[in-house]
């Protein structure tokens, strides 16, 4: 009888495992926008990042310090250790409009930042320059990327940044 129970238990575990595997492998290829945040001297650069609502965003945390850092956000329910001189990826969104703070747990005195989620139509003034958008794309999206970079480089914040997700 206990053997049976153990068998049933292991069977159950196996089923859970299979479901988990299917869930992972069937995760759809996601369309995502990349945003890079650099850590230098235990500070985030930029420390304020604006992203559009309702989009999946791929935050690339580029730790240029030689010390590890833990990128953490309670508002976003994310925590991730990033080794010194390396990059880490944090997926966020889709998010509602609002302000979400994040910090570096190993250097909380200096490493603080916020993600501001708002529709890009309402972007005001120079803050638009804080968004660093890098391409992680191929093919047809390339042109759009360049348009976007040009728009950002000119600093002309009234140019609407295209919202179409860049396909992976």
């Amino acid at each position: 009888m206990p053997r049976d129970r153990i068998m049933r238990f292991t069977n159950r575990l196996a089923v859970i495992g299979v479901i988990g595997f299917l869930a992972i492998s069937s995760a759809p290829a996601l369309a995502m926008q990349d945003v890079t945040i650099v850590i230098k001297d235990h500070k985030f650069e930029p420390s304020t990042v604006e992203v559009p609502p309702g989009e999946k965003i791929k935050l690339i945390i580029d730790n240029q310090d030689s010390t590890p850092e833990e990128f953490e956000s309670r508002d976003l329910n994310r925590e991730k250790i990033i080794r010194g001189n390396s990059k880490g990826v944090v997926l966020i969104g889709p998010l509602e409009e609002g302000t979400y703070s994040f910090f570096g747990e190993f250097n909380m005195g200096t490493a603080q930042g916020t993600i501001v989620v708002k529709a890009l139509g309402s972007v005001d003034g120079e803050e638009a320059n804080d968004v660093e958008v890098s391409s992680g794309s191929s093919g047809g999206a390339q042109e759009k990327d360049e348009d976007l970079k040009r728009a950002l480089d000119t600093g002309n914040s009234t140019v609407p940044v295209p919202l179409e997700p860049i396909s992976k």
Partner: protein, 279 residues
């Protein structure tokens, strides 16, 4: 030195909450201190390895390796604690006898020992890796001297261990009848909490997209960054901004455990005679 102590304490605190409850709950298991020692040694070595390979772990699964790894640790720990919990329920009568008549051994088998070791290893693994990464980073950059770091982390460790010992001693003093009830509930909550946190990591890796929306924000009632919030996080997986899938996982786990415990607690007269050898 002070900031080092605080960070080390915070991580150790999370470890001792889990370890303290598990040790108290398994107090009737004879000669378990060997298993405990193996758990601590394994956890120490394991966390150094995890710290060393953090970069490599992160690179798996398109940069989501750390999330899957953490989820894996949490789910495995939850499975072993849950298993121990059900085991305890089935041996409840022997355990009660053990408490009342000193020296009467509980027929154990190897499961509780393996379980104790593994749970301790896993409880130490993540937080231990964080501590070692933090300390090595501070040391190599020269933010703090070796002596300062040693003093700071010693304070953090001792303070954390103190809390753990208090928790353990407090729990094992509870009277026998209430003891099994209370530790069962605590362990069930710990299991559900680990599942919830593990699900959180899977969400972070991009899974359960449709169910990852935030349900509420209770940070104004209980923030996660104070000690109480931290305790509730380690104990019941508290998060101020839970997602739908996390709430579902919590309820489902508690439901599953309640059912499993009910089945395990049924009078085993029909089964009892045949049951002993394998366990």
């Amino acid at each position: 030195m002070f900031s080092t102590a605080v960070i080390v304490f915070r991580e150790v605190f999370e470890i001792v909450l889990i370890v303290g409850i598990v040790l108290a709950a398994t107090k009737a298991v004879p000669k378990r201190w060997v298993a405990v020692g193996i758990g601590f040694a394994g956890g120490l070595i394991g966390s150094l390895l995890v710290a060393f390979f953090t970069g490599q772990i992160s690179e798996f699964a398109e940069g989501m390796g750390q999330e899957y790894f953490n989820a894996g640790i949490l789910f495995t720990a939850a499975a072993f604690i849950g298993w121990t919990l059900i085991w305890m329920k089935r041996h409840a009568r022997e355990m009660k006898a053990h408490f009342t008549r000193v020296g009467e051994a509980v027929a154990t088998g190897t499961l509780p020992y393996i379980s104790i070791s593994i749970v301790i290893v896993l409880a130490i693994l993540r937080e231990g890796a964080e501590i070692s990464l933090f300390l090595s980073g501070q040391y190599y950059v020269g933010i703090a001297s070796g002596a300062e770091l040693a003093a700071g982390s010693a304070i953090g460790f001792v303070a954390g261990a103190f809390v753990g010992i208090l928790l353990y001693l407090g729990l094992i003093r509870i009277s026998t009848r209430a003891f099994l009830q209370i530790t069962s509930w605590l362990l069930a909550l710990v299991v559900a909490g680990m599942i919830v946190q593990g699900i959180g990591f899977l969400s972070a890796a991009g899974m359960f997209e449709d169910l990852s929306y935030t349900l509420w924000d209770s940070s104004w009632v209980l923030a996660e960054d104070n000690l109480l919030g931290k305790s509730m996080k380690a104990l019941v997986g508290y998060t101020a901004q839970p997602s739908a899938i996390q709430l579902i996982a919590f309820i489902a786990t508690m439901g599953f455990l309640a059912l499993a415990l009910k089945i395990a607690g049924r009078p085993q007269k029909r089964v009892a005679e045949a049951a002993v050898p394998a366990e």
